[in-house]
């Protein structure tokens, strides 16, 4: 039988606070190394694209931002679901911490996509299925944050926003498969497709490094935010007083 002790230990605020504090520097340094290596590869070493020339280099920030926007939503919804089912306060804190970061990367994906679209498609914006579903995700993030800030009681805000986050999960497969299900201006799957990716390694490796860098960066920032959120929620707890050095 599987041992779930680790899972329940993560639900303990002091344990989470301590472990997160230890993990942040690791994630941050690995993100910096991976990101700088990817940037050097993407901007300096990768050859120009035979069709798009140097303009394709926008993908080195656009694709990681777009991947992170959906990953942040999946993380937020998972944490919200865990918080809702197991009534785990730490999980709600993690979900709340994901929203702002996810929204900013969704915005970044939309703007960098527009900047790529202008020279390649001849327009900054099209009501294309991929672009529209990504925009819907930005509104879901904004709705989640708006709902949280509109409810004063934290427990009620947690529950209501968790339901919204879970309902919004329906948008994730729509974003992913929109290029298959509908006629789309947006190019099809390049990385996640059967067979091999349709990019040479000299272009692909920097992209994968930047994607990894963005994911590690996300992990570090979420943990910084979640630690703050845990402190806010637990501010009257005895362990906080002990941790911050005040006599309890």
């Amino acid at each position: 039988m599987m041992d779930w002790t680790w899972f329940h230990r993560f639900g303990s605020p002091p344990h989470f606070y301590r472990i997160a504090g230890k993990m942040i520097p690791w994630f941050a340094w690995l993100a910096a190394i991976s990101g700088v290596a990817g940037l050097i590869g993407g901007l300096g070493l990768a050859p120009p694209d035979y069709q798009q020339g140097e303009g394709y280099r926008i993908i080195y920030v656009h694709v990681p931002a777009a991947v992170l926007s959906t990953m942040a939503y999946a993380t937020m919804a998972t944490a919200a679901g865990v918080g809702l089912i197991w009534r785990m306060n730490v999980a709600h804190a993690v979900a709340a911490s994901c929203a702002g970061i996810g929204a900013s990367f969704t915005f970044l994906a939309l703007v960098t996509g527009s900047l790529w679209g202008r020279p390649m498609w001849g327009t900054y914006w099209q009501w294309d299925p991929r672009l529209t579903s990504e925009l819907v995700m930005l509104f879901l993030y904004l709705g989640y944050m708006g709902l949280r800030s509109a409810i004063d009681d934290t427990a009620r805000a947690d529950r209501a926003s968790a339901v919204l986050a879970l309902v919004g999960v329906i948008n994730l497969p729509i974003i992913h498969y929109s290029v298959d299900w509908w006629n789309s201006l947006h190019q099809g799957h390049t990385l996640l497709k059967f067979g091999k990716p349709s990019m040479p390694p000299s272009m692909l490796v920097p992209l994968l490094l930047l994607m990894l860098g963005f994911m590690l960066y996300f992990a570090a920032i979420v943990l910084v935010r979640a630690r703050g959120e845990v402190l806010r929620r637990e501010r009257n707890a005895r362990w906080i007083a002990e941790l911050l050095g005040a006599p309890s």
């Binding site: 901007l43 120009p48 020339g53 140097e54 303009g55 280099r57 926008i58 920030v61 656009h62 931002a65 702002g100 970061i101 900013s104 990367f105 915005f107 970044l108 703007v111 960098t112 900047l115 790529w116 202008r118 020279p119 960066y217 920032i221 910084v224 935010r225 630690r227 703050g228 959120e229 402190l231 806010r232 637990e234 501010r235 009257n236 906080i240 007083a241 911050l244 005040a246 006599p247 309890s248």
Partner: protein, 56 residues
């Protein structure tokens, strides 16, 4: 200069990178500020609770 011109695509490539840099830096700034605020608030509460406990 040739590299900076990005084959004529510089008005699209460099703003993308600049915006990405801004988003990365702002997220770090906001996260640190919010964590610091929570820490200061918790510290103040812990100290005032300790003072009240000492009085009673």
């Amino acid at each position: 200069m040739h590299w900076l011109a990005m084959g004529g695509y510089w008005p699209y490539v460099w703003p993308s990178y600049l915006l990405t840099f801004l988003v990365l830096v702002l997220n770090v700034g906001f996260a640190q500020r919010s964590a610091q605020r929570a820490r200061t608030d918790a510290q103040r509460r812990a100290q005032s609770a300790a003072v009240q406990q000492g009085r009673s």
